[in-house]
Amino acid sequence: MEKLKKSKKSKFRTFKAFLISRFIFINGIISIVVLGLILAFLVYNSIKFFSSYPFFSFITGTRWSPTVNEKFGFVPLMVGSLEVAFGAIIIAVPFSVGVAIYIGELAPRPVREILKPIIEVLATLPSVVLGFIGLKTIVPFIKNFFNLSIGLTALSGSIILAFMSMPTIISISEDAINAVPNRLRNASLALGANKWETTYKIVVPTASSGILAAIMLGLGRIIGETMAVLMITGNSPRIVFSWLQPVRTITATIAAEMGETVQGGLHYSALFAIGLILFLVTFLINFTSDRFVNRIRNL
């Protein structure tokens, strides 16, 4: 009798444990579900566009004027995004890698402990606030400095985006620098190199694949950034090859135009289509850089 009760209880226990583990498992795979759903809905909503608008004239079209004459040329948006991103990376990389080397290798410990939270604060500033500050400070500065009629330019966007990508690039580069084994440093120092020679001849080259991954993740952040570019790059979907002219990025196009579209219409579907391209590009960037990051972890 006693025995029977016990086994019943333990059976219930195993059943309960089974239910719990199933429940936990369902939560565990949530990120796969989310990623799949995002992809599915981007594809689902852009089918209409891809099936009714010729793909070739989308991908090579040089005019984006969805409301006037339903022209959906991707080139101006792509050029806009690349231009802003390229400028931002050029500005961000020297600063970020410099800061990462300083914090990771050269700074005395107390200085490091002060610097790290300050860099983290930069990561918490909302993009709309940074865009707003750019609008009030960088935009008038660019306008006056270069004597332009309007300060809303690709360069203004690049400057703000550079700062927005810095926390990402700095923290991952620093991880890569910290992951360099101490025996390499010691060997170099023992051979008579000083600290700086060790840093730039041994530590930085060893960490270079991690630093590259950091830069790529920063690039992913830059390409996906929306609010700041929407506010300060001028929103003009024309192909220009100058940093001192207004441009329009992929992200800004989606945010600016979605409100004026008809649900289910061609324009609506077109915005999902460029969203899909954006998703695929950032996916590729993250996927590739993640492999690099894993490599430094296994160093």
């Binding site: 990120s31 809905f41 981007l42 939270p117 909302p126 600290k195 700086w196 979605m258 915005l271 996916f283």
Partner: protein, 283 residues
């Protein structure tokens, strides 16, 4: 020999200078917003509804809207995120599925926020027919910060020594009892830190809420989870770029209120983390 050390000195100071510029920029932004926004802050500004086409009055509906969104985001993201981390750290074995899950987390965290907005519009607003609502907005933001919460919780669970788990199991506790009574309480500071950082991020996001919840102007307070609300980040965007002749001090005031809110969460996160780190050292 001397030249070598001179070069070292030069680079030391040069990189210090570069770092200094970045630090000045970060602190400069915050101080600048405080100086410019402070005069606009008043009791009326944070408790009154907008008036005269949002050019006068306060921003109370936007503050309240953002608070509602924060609460909704916590409700949806926290349990799922924590359970997902429990799965990864306590249940999952090192197999292919686990690798795919980890890769997905990295990729979800890399999805641009405007794409989350598109997804929220397509899925929550239209497909599930929630409409532009607090519900749709909170769900979108919840998915956005899920990777932050999962990663932070998992890191926190990792710091709990295995001997604690073994001791609990040896005393006859089940795996679930061990997790709820031993592992989770031990990991709590880390979980709080991660969640608070994620929530701070959700509070400041604009692109995901434009199509899913944010109203250009909605002075009436929401009466259900299917209401549209104003939200601080979107309101700042509207004042700065969409509304001609919006008063400067209202723009800066809104920026300051948003900044205070976001930094408040960031500070809580940092304080909790620092305290738990100190306690661990003293242990």
């Amino acid at each position: 020999m001397k030249r070598k050390n001179l070069i070292q000195k030069f680079w030391n100071y040069f990189l210090l200078f570069v770092t200094f510029i970045v630090v000045v920029f970060v602190l400069g932004i915050i101080i600048y917003v405080i100086i410019k926004g402070w005069p606009a802050l008043s009791w009326e500004f944070i408790t009154q509804k907008p008036a005269a086409g949002m050019r006068e009055g306060g921003i109370f509906p936007a503050i309240l809207g953002t608070l509602y969104l924060i609460i909704g985001t916590i409700i949806f993201s926290l349990p799922i995120g924590i359970f997902a981390a429990i799965y990864l750290n306590e249940y999952a074995s090192k197999n292919r599925l686990t690798r795919i899950i980890r890769l997905s987390i990295v990729n979800v965290s890399g999805v641009p926020s405007v794409v989350f907005g598109l997804f929220g519009l397509g899925f929550f607003v239209i497909f599930l027919n929630f409409g532009k609502s607090i519900l749709a907005g909170s769900l979108t933001l919840a998915l956005l910060i899920l990777p932050v919460i999962i990663t932070a919780t998992e890191e926190a669970l990792k710091t709990v020594p295995n001997s604690y788990r073994q001791a609990s199991l040896a005393l006859g506790a089940t795996k679930w009892q061990t997790i709820t009574k031993i592992t989770l309480p031990q990991a709590l500071p880390g979980i709080i830190t991660g969640s608070v950082i994620g929530i701070g991020r959700a509070a400041g996001e604009t692109a995901p809420i434009i199509f899913t919840v944010a109203a250009f102007s909605q002075p009436n307070l929401p009466n259900s989870i299917f209401s549209q609300v104003m939200a601080l980040p979107y309101h700042l965007f509207v004042l700065a770029t969409q509304l001609p002749n919006a008063p400067e001090d209202m723009q800066w005031g809104t920026a300051l209120v948003l900044l205070i809110m976001v930094l408040f969460f960031a500070t809580i996160g940092t304080v909790v983390r620092t305290r738990s780190r100190l306690r661990r050292v003293n242990l």
